[in-house]
Structures are given as C-alpha cells and as structure tokens.
Symmetry: C2
Subunit: 393 residues, 2 copies
C-alpha cells in the first residue's frame, strides 16, 4: 500500500510518534481519522493503523479493496483487530492510545470493548505533538501550497467587476484556486469550526459575530452556515478580506489579503493595516526555536495597544482569543498562538499569523501569512503583496 | 434568536422529537451538533439546545455574542448548564439524551461529568427518526434545492470543451452551482464519508474503489482524498458521471446524471443505463407509506439481475451495499435503502435513489434522483433529462 518512495519519510513520522509515546509510557497507537492516516500511512483508507515501538506498523483495512503491500490485513470490523494482533505479534500491549478527541463516544466504547483487558489511553497529544514539527518533505508540500495560494490571490484584481458581491468574488477565487489544484477539502480538528472554502468578508459584515472559532466572523448566506460572505455589494472605500484555504497538496497554507475598491480613505483602517504588517515584522524578529509562543501573542497585543488600536484588534464586537495557529494536514494544528499557550517554538513548526483588525464602517484589515520556523527565525511561505490592494480601475 | 416566522415550524419539529422521546422514555435532549441545532433552532450556534416535554426549549449559547430572544442563556462552558437548569426549571430530569454518535469520547465524558447524577442516553435515533419525516416547510426547502440542482446540471453541456478532464468539468459545475446559491457545505453524518463538492467520475476511474461509503468510487486527485475525479481526459464514448451536492437551502438534494462525449456506442452501457431508469420507474410504482424500504432494494436488485447486469450493479470491482439514502440537512439521513434496513416508508420522507452500474472500459451509468414520499407514492424533485446526455458537438 505504501508508496516505496514515501517509506523513508513515513519512517521518520513513526519515529516521532514513538518518541512521543515513550514519554507518555504508551505502548501502541491505533489510529483511524483521515488526518492521522494520511500522516502515518500516506493515504486515507477506511480502517486502522497500529503503531508500536518494536514492530513495523500494521494496517487493518476495511476499504478500499485491493490494497497491496507489507503488513496489510483486511478486516471486516474493528472486533477483528485484537485477535489478529495476538496472532501477528504473539502478545498484546498493556495499553493502546486511541483518538479520544476524534472517535465518537459510541465508536470509542465499541473499540474499547473489542480490546477488553487492554488499557485505553488518549493519542491526541502524541499525534498533535508529532505532527506539529514538520519533516522536510512536509515543509516542501506546505511551500508548494503556499506558492499556489499566492498565485491564486494574484488573480483577484482581475476578477473584480463593478457591482459584485463578496460571495461572487469568493466563487471566482474558489474556481481559480481549484484550477491551480486546490483539493477543496478543508480539514479541521474538532467541531469548533465549519467552513466550505474559507471566508471572504466585505465591509460591515466583518463585524457580524460568528459561532465559529475563526479569527473573523461574517454572517454567511444561510443560518445553516453563519460565517463569511453574506452578499454584501462591494462599494468604494469598503475593505474586502479574502481568507480562503490553500489545500493544494493535502497540506494547507493559510493566507489573508485585503482588497479595496478604488482606494481606502479611512485613516484608522490604513493605520491598522500597517500595524498588522508591523506586528508580523516584529514577530519575525522575535520568533525562533525556544521562544514561548505566548510571547508572540503578547508582542502582538502590545504593538496593537501602543498604536491605540486595542478596541479593533482581533475583532470589534466579538474578539478572537488567538493571533495564529499551526497549519498542516488540518487548519488548526499546534502551536496555538494564544495568551495561555504553553507551546514553545521548535524548528519545523509551521504556523499562520493573522493579526487583524475590524474597523466599524470600513471592514476588516490585516494580513495573514504562513511561516516555517527555521533554526534562526521564521521563513514566510505565502509571499505576496502586503499592502492593501486596490481593485476596480 | 428564533425567527418569529419560523417559530410554528420549529414547534412542529420539537413535537416530533418529544413524541420520539416519549417512546424511548427519555425526559430531555441536549443537542450541540450543527445539523441538530439547525434543525431544532433554525440556525447554527456554538452551544446547546435543551428540549424536554414540558417546557419551551432552552438555548445555552457560547457564541456568537448578541443573540436575542426568549429562553436564551449565555454560558461560558458546558459545566454552567446543569446549575442553570436547576434554577430555571426548579428540578432536573432523571435522564438526558445526548449525541453519542456525534460527540467525541472526551466531549461526552466531560458533559457526563457536568451532569453527574443524571443518566445519559443516546439521542441519535430520536433525532434521526424525527428528521427522517420532513415537514412541509422542509420539503419546500428540498424542492427549492432540487430545482436549482437541475438548473445547474442543464448548464453542463455548455461547459464541455474538447480535451477537458473530469476535474475541470467538476470545477466549472461547482462554480455554476455556487452562482445558483449552493452553500457548498456538504454535511455528512458520521465519519464514513468525506468529500469536497461531491463526485465526478469519468471512464475507467469509476471502477477505482474508494475508502468511503459512497455508491461510486474514483481514485481522486490526491491520496488525502481518494475519491472522485482523478484528472482523466474525457474521450469519445467514455461516460462522465456527475454526482455533485445540492445544498442551496441548508437542505441537500442528491442528483446524478451521465454525460458522454459524442455518443455512447457500448450496448451494455446503454442497456445498463436504461435499466437504471427502469428501476427508478418500478420503485415509483411500488413505493408508498407502509412499504418496507428493503423491498425497494430487493426490487432494484431483482430488476438488475433479471437484465443480466448483476456483475455491474452498484459497482464492479467494489460494490456499494445500498441503492439509496434519506437526504435533508445531511446527505445520509434515514431511511437507508439497503437489504437489512428495517425502515418503513412514511409520508414526508425524502430520499435519493441511485441505481448505478459500472461498465469496464466505459465508465459509470445510471441516474440518481431525490424523491418525496407522498400519501400515494413518490414525487421526484430533481426533474431533468433521464437519458445519457451527449456533449461535445
């Protein structure tokens, strides 16, 4: 099943998982979420991967039929795994970590019963920890996504026509993005967020609070999905914030740019946008391996406060509690750049920074970029114009 | 919070839930999934709705800020709900049903602890049961989706240009669909399926098995999402099956049509497509309230078998185990039209039928339509050309 070329890469990931397991005294992991299967097996299938410290990982596959390769064992149901493990390994582990923050309660209970006698542990921190430090291969995939993400945004000025609404712009950007290879799939850990392609908000809609844990809101087009574009017609002087997903490789970059029809006259909005650029610059000076991520958050807040922009920072009516987040297979990986985060920067982390402002009467301003943590600082992988981009000439 | 116009409609839904609760001796439901909140509150929010048999539902809201209306209580965390319930109702229920097939294990355990002393039950069958019988309002929303879904498909012949790939067609159909108001969001119950916009499969790709529980496969463009279009260039005589989602209203229709570049020469494929049309016609004669859905499945299988098409029915290398499924807020609601289903047709059910075939060397054939169960039969709500549609002239 596993691409031979990918085997050395996957071995690195298994080793990272094993070293996390050792720290938590966990003997084996049994994983089934698409995100963790893609990470550990290089592809999504219906079934489970079993990783322990001594043996090659085992693949217990329900679907699709016809996968070939070492260590693949077809099963009908999860109850088949334990007897197969006994047979294949000659013994059973004393504990197994499963995805307690992904499996539903009923899925977990069924699996727990199928593994009676073996203690169940939680695999979340092991996998989120391992996945937070990207391999060179993964960074390559993220850079490819970043390049394409920026290329897509470069087409936005050409899309705009007078009288367009925010969702009409979104639709055309989505199309271009798909033509550049965006898979569309927007993977999110947990249930705190939902979106289709990401978010485009124009003018006052930026201040409409949403139920989701995104940095910006927007009321959406339907109460079944109350976030993002709401049909606002773009008018001169109003900002248009484009924050669409960049899943071109299975690995997602996150990137926001602000556009304005004709030109932005509002000084507060201009100042706030420049403050966002300054925050990113200052964070680039501070950030390197060993720095606690909460210091990045504190730096951003202090710059915004010193500029007299506190009221507008990270939302006006409703504020987001973070300024950035890890990205990778999912949009909300570790580290979380928030005041109470205990995460420490390490080389190989990849995260998005989105110091944004909502200016009443104008809209949202501020950029978002995706960065890789290098040995001596940050590298931006969503390289594109940082200023507000004027459209509609 | 609740739209006043929607109040009588929501009251109907609450009553349906209450009658299901009564049958299972459940005193209250506490729901938090987007699908069930949209169903019971008319909108998505972060928080919980509490429904018991005696009182008006209570809304415990975490986000967004600023929701106004009766019975809205802002909470910081789920632990705030139980004390608030005591205070508001004067007593606590002896049991509460929660979404044990949606909440993660850890979410469930946390909620269970916060409700110590109150027995937890599973709300799945109550909600899936209530939601399977649509109200007139919901049927109206589904009909609106069906009309738009068909209108989108009518544009497909105009999209095609020589040399196009399956994913290029998909991108253009997605755009048109979004312009007709498709919200994009593709809501699925459980984790057995993942997709972006739905599936477009051309030629031999139809026989590539996928890990997901869709009727048809396709290998996809990336191992992180192995389903649907895979970049196949469309050639004369090859079929193109378009099965994209129709969420124009928060309620999704499901609809498949088959296209062929120039014309279809393969007699087996033509015969199989006609058999699909015949199966739908025969099921329309049989289906009405009181009929067990498994009889629909059996009828479909017997028609396919009698036509000598057994090997190709519902897949060739890998077969799907159903021929249809309920639709609504999610794409996989009740009833499931499968051999071991115990569901009985009732007026107000809405389901999709997709008797499909995979013909090696040609591709997939067969239609999918969405039907409403009326008192005396079925009404199709995705009205569109049923024959294979020739494109590329």
């Amino acid at each position: 099943m596993i691409d031979k070329d990918l085997y050395p890469e996957l071995t690195k990931r298994w080793e990272k998982i094993r070293s996390q397991m050792k720290r938590e005294n966990i003997k084996a992991c049994l994983l089934t979420s698409s995100a963790n299967l893609f990470y550990t097996a290089g592809r999504v299938f219906k079934g489970y991967i079993y990783i322990d410290s001594e043996n090659e990982p085992l693949f217990f596959v329900q679907r699709p039929i016809g996968l070939n390769g070492d260590n693949i064992h077809y099963i009908k149901k999860q109850e088949d795994i334990k007897p197969l493990l006994s047979e294949l390994l000659g013994s059973l582990p004393e504990n197994v970590a499963v995805e307690a923050d992904f499996l539903t309660y009923n899925e977990y209970k069924r699996l727990e019963k199928a593994f009676e006698g073996i203690e169940f542990k939680n695999a979340t921190s092991i996998l989120r920890g391992a996945r937070s430090i990207k391999t060179d291969y993964e960074i390559g995939k993220l850079k490819e996504s970043g390049l394409k993400h920026a290329a897509v945004y470069s087409h936005i000025p050409g899309i705009y026509e007078e009288g367009m609404t925010d969702d009409e712009v979104s639709i055309e950007v989505e199309r271009i993005s798909r033509k550049f290879g965006n898979l569309g799939m927007f993977r999110i850990f947990g249930s705190s967020m939902e979106t289709f392609a990401g978010s485009v908000v124009a003018g006052e809609n930026a201040d409409n609070p949403s139920p989701y844990d995104f940095a910006m809101g927007g009321s959406g087009l339907n109460p079944s999905l109350p976030v993002g574009a709401n049909g606002t017609i773009l008018r001169p002087g109003m900002t248009l914030m484009v924050d669409l997903g960049g899943n071109f490789t299975g690995y997602m970059t996150d990137m926001t740019r602000v556009f304005v029809v004709k030109s932005l006259e509002n000084d507060l909005a201009k100042r706030a946008h420049n403050c966002s650029i300054e925050i990113e610059k200052e964070i680039m000076k501070l950030a390197k391996p060993g720095v606690p991520v909460k210091e990045l958050y504190e730096l951003a807040v202090s710059i915004a406060n010193n500029a007299g922009l506190k009221d507008y920072f990270m939302g006006y009516s409703q504020k987001a509690g973070f300024i950035g987040h890890g990205v990778g297979i999912e949009i909300n990986e570790l580290p979380v750049i928030a005041p109470r985060s205990r995460d420490i920067l390490e080389a190989g982390m990849v995260f998005a920074l989105e110091p944004k402002f909502v200016i009443p009467g104008v809209g949202a301003v501020g950029n978002e970029n995706t960065f890789v943590v290098l040995e001596n600082g940050l590298e931006v992988i969503t390289v594109f114009e940082e200023d507000i981009i004027e459209i509609g000439f």
